[in-house]
């Protein structure tokens, strides 16, 4: 039977927590004690350093064959507001980002029914041609699965071609909650949790790094969250290919699932989830607070709850904002630096692969 004392003992000894122990922490009301343990784990790994990067999001299309219940971004091709950026527009955005000092372009979009495989290669080549200093982090496991089918190739073959065109690493989206029972209700058209993990394993085997996300605060139980994190931890044990874990707070605006937002999920749940992730995912180097979904205030406070990465300047976020996120669509470097400093931490600009670029 887990207790705070037994868990604390294990954390101090650097031992791995069991699923039951993680579940115990989720059920515990003792937010500050959980935070202390997470802070200890983080301090050992990162000291007082907090990472951020200068990046830009490009969402090339919102047209998507999937109809995930939690998503306020996707459209059918003929729906009002449906769009697909052309290569010129994408180039312009990449140029703008490069001018502003970005080191990363983050590209994700809907599963477009009609775009040919070549479009995605052109997309990568276009951004690549803008500047070789721009790292391209693109396509979730869901998109990779879709592109492989589109190309009629295996996932490794697809990755190899995308990589040649400029793909540098992958984001961690589309994981949602991996367990089938939740997925069936949340995003029935989307690839299964097992498939998501298989694609990620192939990504890592191909020598590419990725992130891993978890969308929480909707239909899932605490046990579902622990199950999700256990599968990620297992895969990470095998590949070591995940760079950061990014829990995403469900945004209830403008979507059919809005009314099913878990009312118990608020700022306290956000901090607990980040902290427990830091303690439980002992083989993940980084826990990222995505300020777009959390708001700047909770993201900043989370730096005392085990978080060591505040994502980036983002520039023009669309997906979370279509779902009613109240945060700004971009943050200036001085704002991120100020948040980190006021939290008593040391701001460190990183690149996508976590090489340190500059200490502020």
């Amino acid at each position: 039977m887990a207790t705070h004392a037994s868990i604390s003992g294990k954390v101090h000894a650097g031992e791995r927590l069991t699923d039951d122990e993680a579940l115990f922490l989720f059920e515990s009301p003792d937010l500050l004690s959980i935070g202390e343990l997470a802070a200890l784990v983080n301090e050992r790994r990162n000291g007082r350093r907090v990472f951020f990067n200068i990046n830009r999001h490009i969402n090339h299309t919102n047209i998507c064959v999937n109809r995930c219940r939690f998503c306020a971004f996707s459209r059918t091709a003929d729906a009002p507001g449906a769009y697909c950026l052309d290569l010129e527009e994408i180039r312009n955005r990449a140029v703008e980002a490069a001018t502003q000092g970005a080191t990363e372009i983050h590209i994700v979009g809907g599963l477009h029914p009609d775009l040919p495989f070549e479009f995605y290669l052109d997309l990568l080549r276009t951004v690549r041609a803008v500047s070789s200093a721009l790292h391209i982090k693109a396509f979730t496991a869901v998109e990779i699965d879709y592109l492989a089918a589109l190309a009629g190739l295996s996932v490794p073959e697809t990755l190899s071609i995308l990589r040649e065109a400029g793909l540098g690493s992958l984001p961690g989206g589309g994981a949602e909650i991996l367990r089938r029972e939740v997925r069936d209700r949340l995003c029935p058209e989307k690839i299964s949790g097992e498939r998501w993990l298989t694609v990620m394993e192939e990504v890592h085997r191909a020598g590419l790094k990725s992130n891993a996300t978890m969308l929480y605060g909707h239909l899932e139980s605490h046990a579902d969250r622990v199950d999700h994190m256990r599968r990620l931890r297992d895969l990470q044990d095998r590949t070591g290919g995940f760079q950061a874990f990014i829990p995403l707070a469900f945004q209830a605006g403008n979507n059919p699932l809005g009314h099913l937002k878990n009312p118990a999920s608020g700022g306290v749940d956000d901090l607990k989830t980040l902290a427990i992730a830091r303690i439980y995912l002992d083989n993940f180097a980084n826990i990222k607070a995505y300020w777009v979904m959390l708001g700047e205030k909770i993201a900043q406070v989370s730096l005392a709850f085990g978080v060591n990465d505040l994502d980036g300047t983002v520039m023009e976020e669309n997906i979370g904002h279509n779902a009613g996120a109240a945060s700004p669509q971009a943050m200036g470097i001085d704002e991120i630096v100020n948040l980190i400093r006021k939290a008593g931490r040391l701001p460190v600009e990183r690149d996508t692969l976590y090489n340190e670029l500059k200490t502020y």
């Binding site: 500050l32 608020g266 900043q300």
Partner: protein
């Protein structure tokens, strides 16, 4: 730091230098744990309370023109207003219909409103809505009314009380250090006048509250001084039921600048709980911090979420607009693991709420 911590756990008073050290050097979680220990000692029942209330801002015409304020207008301005009395009664009627118990009337320092205007209004409010707590007029307004009417502060409070004023909210405290006040609100009463009104109110049997607006131009030691002055006033016979720290909101103000970050808010809140252990309640400010951080604040010393605020205009004028209904208030409290309770202005519990079960496949405990 260890000495400071053990002093707090032993219930001993801190010196100013020790408080300053906590504010500027302690880790956020260290401050949180200390504040939480005091909060749980003073409120062992696991309740988090709130009041159903409405702020009625009777006028935005103000001679004070504080540089941090986005609400005030000159008398000739196109959007300057003074609410008609019937309009005020209408608003209170809506408050009562919504199950509200507290009316908080606050407005600018209007050059034309003498004590008779307030007496007539308060009498009529009491006659029509005897069940509503009239929690109105900050010390700056009371001092201003006294000046306009050629009365002393004690006489003004006495007459307002007879007319129907039940308690005095602690607005306008900002930072109770005159060097800061000269910079951010040069025409507003000084800290000693603020204190005089509050002590006189207490002497006449009126409950009061105290606020702190931080994050504008004060230095950390000014913030500490504010807390120690409020503490001292309470020792000298003050009737503060609650302390409400909130952060300066720079939108649309002359002073401009940035607002305090989430970490700074939680630190100021926690230090408030630690220093002001002679004031029973500390309110979290969802109006300025949003629901997520206000919920987290319940672990950093706050035991109360203030009001649901059917209406609020002063903070909203800065562009900082958060909404809250009773349902959301309950979810916030229960989601943090506490039991929600509706209270009166004077912290009498009116009803406790049970946590609702969620339908659907969750393991959230009832």
């Amino acid at each position: 730091m260890k000495t400071i911590e053990s002093k707090i756990y032993n219930g001993e008073q801190l010196a100013r230098a020790e408080a300053l050290r906590l504010l500027t050097e302690a880790d956020l979680l260290v401050l949180g744990k200390l504040a939480d220990s005091i909060r749980r000692r003073l409120h062992p029942d696991n309740l988090v309370t709130f009041v159903v209330d409405r702020n009625v801002n009777y006028t935005n015409i103000c001679e004070s023109k504080c540089r941090f304020c986005a609400f005030y207008r000159d008398e000739g301005a196109a959007d300057a207003y003074l609410l008609a009395e019937e309009n005020i009664y209408q608003k209170i009627e809506e408050l009562v219909a919504a199950g509200g118990t507290q009316l908080l009337m606050q407005g600018g320092l209007h050059p034309g409103l003498g004590i008779e205007w307030f007496e007539r209004l308060f009498r009529e409010i009491k006659r029509r809505f005897p069940q509503v707590q009239n929690h109105s007029l900050s010390p700056a307004e009371i001092t201003h009314t006294a000046g306009i009417s050629g009365l002393s502060v004690p006489e003004t409070i006495r007459r307002l009380n007879i007319a129907g004023l039940d308690s005095i909210p602690g607005g306008g405290a900002e930072i109770l250090v005159d060097s800061v006040r000269r910079e951010i609100s040069p025409r507003k009463i000084g800290w000693e006048e603020w204190a005089t009104v509050m002590l006189e109110g207490a002497r006449q049997g009126l409950p009061t509250t105290a606020t702190m607006m931080f994050g504008s131009r004060e230095r950390p030691d000014d913030l500490v001084e504010h807390l120690f002055r409020v503490r001292r006033l309470q020792e000298e016979g003050g009737s503060f039921t609650a302390f409400i720290p909130w952060s300066y909101q720079p939108g649309n103000t002359e002073l401009g600048g940035k607002t305090a970050t989430g970490v700074e808010y939680l630190k100021a809140l926690a230090l408030s709980r630690i220093i002001l252990d002679n004031i029973p309640n500390i309110q979290a400010s969802w109006v300025t911090q949003g629901a997520k951080l206000a919920q987290v604040a319940l672990f950093f010393g706050a035991n109360d979420l203030g009001g649901t605020m059917l209406e609020e205009n002063v903070v909203a004028a800065t562009g900082c607009k958060f909404c809250m209904d009773m349902e959301e208030m309950l979810e916030m409290i229960h989601g943090a693991g506490f039991q929600a309770a509706q209270r009166t202005t004077l912290y009498r519990i009116l009803q406790k709420f049970e946590r609702k079960h969620r339908d659907g496949g969750t393991d959230i405990k009832p």
